[in-house]
């Protein structure tokens, strides 16, 4: 009996080898696009010029861009402009002569880099603008529709502040005046608030370079003048930590409704859970990075004249509130795989 079992098993094993071997031999076909694509990506180069590294936004985007570059074998490099527009302009100028294939730029304001980006495209470099846009279009833009962020935030504040017993008084804390995240966002706020009689915008102030200390002191001053303040429209999660600190110190955390926005990182959910803000518009950095990586790949394969097609990919926005915060991903640098 033992002998029989052994013999049977040997037969089965041999048979399966025979079938398996012949199957591989018959069905293996290489994808004809594959080799050519990978070969064409070798030695190409992508350079990222952020406003500032060391923030969850830029580190998140950069990590995903670097990962794709490593996987596909093209070069990726970061040239940090360190919150210095002049340094950024210089970097882009020197990059125009270095001629990378793709230039990814996060613009500090709507004007400064506009001509340089056009010159880069004229020199044959694909320019992708990331989240912060100038007033000209280039090969691609990936990022939030900032006007839409403004409208979404403003709608949430209107919903909260026009009810029974609410003053309707709103404070707007913007960023640097010429930044797309101030200029376009204010436009979004105006689209919603201007038509509403119950809302009174008591103050529109800039937080300088998104400074939380400034957000805090402005909030404190305005709270003194308007103790019945109902809502605050903030520009960015990191800035509005200061806004929330001012409310907490004044004991008004539960009286004033704060809406802010950001990349949806861990701070976004922490803020909702700790009641720093009650409404948060996320532009989903990992999602943006995926869009960006796709546009980079498309640009690297593009054989047409640079700038002949212009693609805008506005990021789908996600609203975080206390009710849905547990379903959000709240990414961290470690969770971006």
């Amino acid at each position: 009996m033992k002998l029989f079992t052994k013999a049977a098993m040997t037969a089965v094993t041999l048979l399966s080898f025979a079938i398996g071997g012949s199957a591989v031999a018959q069905q293996s076909i290489n994808d004809p696009a594959r080799d050519a694509l990978y070969a064409s990506l070798k030695d190409r180069s992508v350079v990222f010029v952020p406003v500032f590294m060391g923030l969850d936004l830029t580190e998140g985007w950069s990590k995903m861009m670097a990962r794709q570059a490593e996987k596909l074998g093209y070069k990726y490099e970061v040239r940090n402009s360190n919150f210095n527009t002049a340094a950024g302009a210089q970097t882009i100028t020197s990059l125009i002569s270095e001629k990378p294939d793709v230039l990814v730029v996060q613009n500090p304001d709507v004007q400064s880099y506009a001509r340089l980006l056009k010159r880069a495209e004229d020199a044959g470099i694909h320019v992708l603008q990331l989240n912060m846009k100038t007033n000209i279009l280039t090969t691609g833009f990936v990022g939030a529709d900032v006007v839409e962020i403004g409208e979404t935030q403003a709608n949430a504040v209107v919903n909260h502040c026009t009810g029974e017993g609410k003053s309707g008084k709103v404070l707007i804390l913007a960023g640097p005046p010429t930044s797309p995240f101030s200029a376009y966002m204010l436009h979004g706020y105006e689209n919603v608030l201007n038509g509403n009689d119950k809302i009174q915008v008591v103050s529109v102030q800039s937080t300088g370079a998104y400074e939380s200390a400034k957000a805090k002191s402005i909030t404190q001053v305005v709270l003194q003048q308007h103790p019945d303040l109902c809502g605050i429209l903030g520009v960015w999660d990191n800035t509005d930590i200061g806004t929330a600190a001012a409310l907490a110190e004044a004991g008004k955390t539960n009286d004033v409704f704060v809406s802010t926005s950001g990349g949806g990182g861990e701070l976004s959910c922490k803020g909702i859970r700790e009641n720093l803000w009650q409404h948060y518009v996320s532009y989903d950095v990992p999602g943006q990075a995926r869009d960006l990586n796709d546009l980079i790949l498309a640009a690297l394969q593009d054989k047409n004249e640079v700038g002949s097609t212009k693609t805008i990919l506005y990021t789908p926005l996600i609203e975080f509130t206390a009710d849905n915060v547990d379903q959000q991903s709240c990414w961290t640098l470690e969770s971006i795989k």
């Binding site: 060391g54 102030q205 957000a215 805090k216 002191s217 001053v221 003194q224 990191n238 110190e249």
Partner: protein
């Protein structure tokens, strides 16, 4: 105030004091809500960190130096304290580590200025960039460091209120008192005036000027760390990118505006307090009036210019008052 004016010529401190009183009174009359106790406290609180930094800068400027690394020393050691405490080190150890960092920065500044005899402007600029660079190259996960719960036991220095007065104002007052006593009541403080007024004369009379120069930079750095902890506790985070902003000019502004000449040897804590209050009043009033960011910068610049012009008209420079090395 009459006491202050009596027997004094109209120097810059008095001009700025009068300017401050004029602006303050006109806001009080024309701006509803300005003159409430709550708003005045808010006003002082919003500039208390600036005032603390101004005190540190004043020590250096009186000793005829300048410390451009103060903002970096405010941001990086304080953020390091927060990072260490957040990583589970005992708060006391984290604070001592930050203190050691700040003192090392001050010593480095002082040695470069006193022994290597590099002009303070360049030495401290370079050290500041270096310290900010250390912060950016991996000391922290993000450039904006959150206030860790482990340090909540000391968060009152920026957040708390005692008898209706915010601790950050008290922190400013305490720092002002300490610096005042140091400058006016101790021998070291007297030496700083002496070497700021005339370094060679101070040396000839037997003052060991080099160690005192180091001491003044160390004091500035330690005060900057203190200001950093107050700021971080107050806004619940520390944005280490502030080195790249124009804060250092604001600090020099309150010092110079208050009447501490960059040529050294003059002024004291009162000058810093008056300069700080003037800036605070202007910012507060303009925020209430909802003046735009650009408008606020314009007004601030014009006030500074007006103060400096009045001073140079009333006290024209001559060979006696203008010194070599005046910035």
């Amino acid at each position: 105030m009459l006491n202050l004016l009596r027997g004094r010529k109209l120097d810059q401190q008095i001009i700025v004091l009068i300017l401050f009183i004029l602006i303050f009174l006109s806001f009080a009359v024309f701006l509803p809500g300005f003159i409430s106790a709550g708003n005045i406290l808010t006003l002082v609180r919003s500039v208390s960190v600036l005032g603390i930094l101004g005190l540190g800068m004043a020590i250096v400027v009186i000793g005829r130096g300048i410390d451009l690394s103060m903002i970096a020393t405010l941001a990086v050691p304080a953020a390091w304290v927060m990072t260490l405490a957040g990583a589970g080190y005992p708060p006391v150890l984290a604070i001592l580590a930050g203190l050691a960092f700040a003192i090392a920065t001050g010593v480095l500044n002082g040695v470069l200025v006193a022994y290597a005899e590099i002009p303070a402007l360049f030495a401290t600029l370079a050290v500041g960039i270096g310290i900010a660079g250390i912060g950016q190259s991996g000391l922290f996960e993000y450039d904006i460091v959150a206030w860790p719960p482990a340090l909540d036991s000391i968060s009152w220095i920026g957040r708390g209120v005692i008898l209706g007065i915010p601790y950050s104002i008290l922190a400013f007052l305490a720092a002002a008192l300490v610096v005042h006593i140091f400058l006016k009541k101790t021998r070291m403080g007297f030496f700083i005036y002496a070497l700021g007024d005339n370094l060679l004369a101070a040396r000839i009379t037997g003052v060991r000027v080099r160690p005192i120069i180091i001491l003044q930079y160390v004091m500035a750095s330690v005060i900057a760390l203190f200001a950093g902890l107050v700021l971080a506790a107050s806004s619940a985070n520390m944005d280490t990118r502030i080195f790249n902003l124009t804060w250092i000019y604001d600090v020099i502004l309150v010092v110079v505006l208050g009447g501490i000449g960059l040529s050294g040897g003059r002024g004291g804590v009162w000058n810093v307090i008056i300069g700080t209050l003037l800036i605070g009043t202007i910012i507060n009033g303009m925020t209430i009036m909802n003046v735009s960011f650009e408008g606020q910068n314009l007004v601030r610049g014009m006030v500074l210019l007006a103060a400096l012009m009045t001073d140079s008209i009333l006290n024209p420079r001559n060979e006696e008052t203008a010194k070599q090395g005046d910035i």
